[in-house]
Symmetry: C2
Subunit: 190 residues, 2 copies
């Protein structure tokens, strides 16, 4: 099971068996089922999650009880409430699986320890965050530049797997439109 984690690290850094052994001892495997929350609004967040199987979502619920999806996390992705985690303030997000899922859990404390002890690991996480940063910039550009249909089409192209596992209303929320609007957009002739 931890091979996935190793393969994930080794896309960016090389690890000896003992190095990986050491690293992986800081991760705990966890199965989660639908409606089981890894993060809940108001809680202090201590952990970060690496998705092995399934799909997680992070979202906030506004004062009208509407859900706004910030992120989907497919296998090989990381997810948590980073804002709450880094500042140690109560979370404003919920994180739970779309259906059942499996993750590896690492505490912020252990991650920081590993980064301090092993320059390689710090390098790995810097590179990872850089990629995440770029991805978010692209998403922001999409949100201010293109209409919902283009965003929808781009999302399909980039993550076709999402459409097997995620209800369209969650995708609508991720794209920043209502489910009705999304439904009309991809019906219309163009």
């Amino acid at each position: 099971m931890k091979e996935l984690l190793r393969a994930h690290f080794e896309k960016i850094i090389d690890l000896t068996d003992s190095e990986f052994e050491y690293i992986s001892n800081h991760f705990k495997h966890k199965k989660i089922i639908k409606h089981q929350f890894l993060v809940q609004e108001g809680e202090i967040v201590k952990n970060e999650f690496f998705v092995v199987k399934g799909c997680l979502k992070s979202y906030m619920v506004d004062s009208d009880n509407k859900m706004h999806v910030l992120q989907f996390a497919l296998p090989d992705w990381w997810i948590t409430d980073y804002h709450a985690l880094y500042r140690q303030i109560p979370s404003s997000l919920y994180i739970d699986p779309v259906e059942s899922a499996e993750v590896f859990v690492i505490s912020l404390q252990d991650k920081e320890k590993l980064c301090e002890e092993m320059h390689k690991v710090e390098h790995f996480f810097r590179k990872k965050t850089n990629l995440g940063y770029v991805g978010l910039q692209q998403r922001v550009l999409g949100l201010i530049k293109t209409d919902a249909r283009d965003r929808y089409e781009q999302l399909i192209k980039q993550y076709p797997a999402l459409f097997q596992m995620v209800p369209k209303q969650l995708i609508a929320s991720y794209l920043g439109v209502t489910r009705e609007t999304l439904s009309r957009l991809y019906k219309a002739p163009k």
Copy 2:
């Protein structure tokens, strides 16, 4: 002049004089005037920029010749086309100052070298990117969750300095609305 850079690093890591000396030798100071581009669409990007004075903007121009502001960079911020830089693909952005400005320039190559040579520096940049990542997540949430007026009010609150130096039409673009809409929003009684 380089004191700003040092202070910037030392918010996160401690440096000896000789360490900072070594780091700072990889930066070049540069003054830029209005309409002088640090990055242009179609170019390969080699450098990253640390703003010392003034305000830079990064933006793309769409097929209708409309400008979409991705980022403002005030003093103490970093800016470049990260997507183009990390993948070494032609930029899709323009970066230039709102008015004249001053920056420190470092090449990607030198930055990577410094990160490799000095664990501390890699730590610094990981922390920096983490903060940037969190900021972008907040912005995405704002874009999908709140209307333009709320986004406007939050921006004023967070970066009052922007409103002294940046024309409102650029701010409208950053917020993802037209200048007319922005103008009406902050006129209206609420």
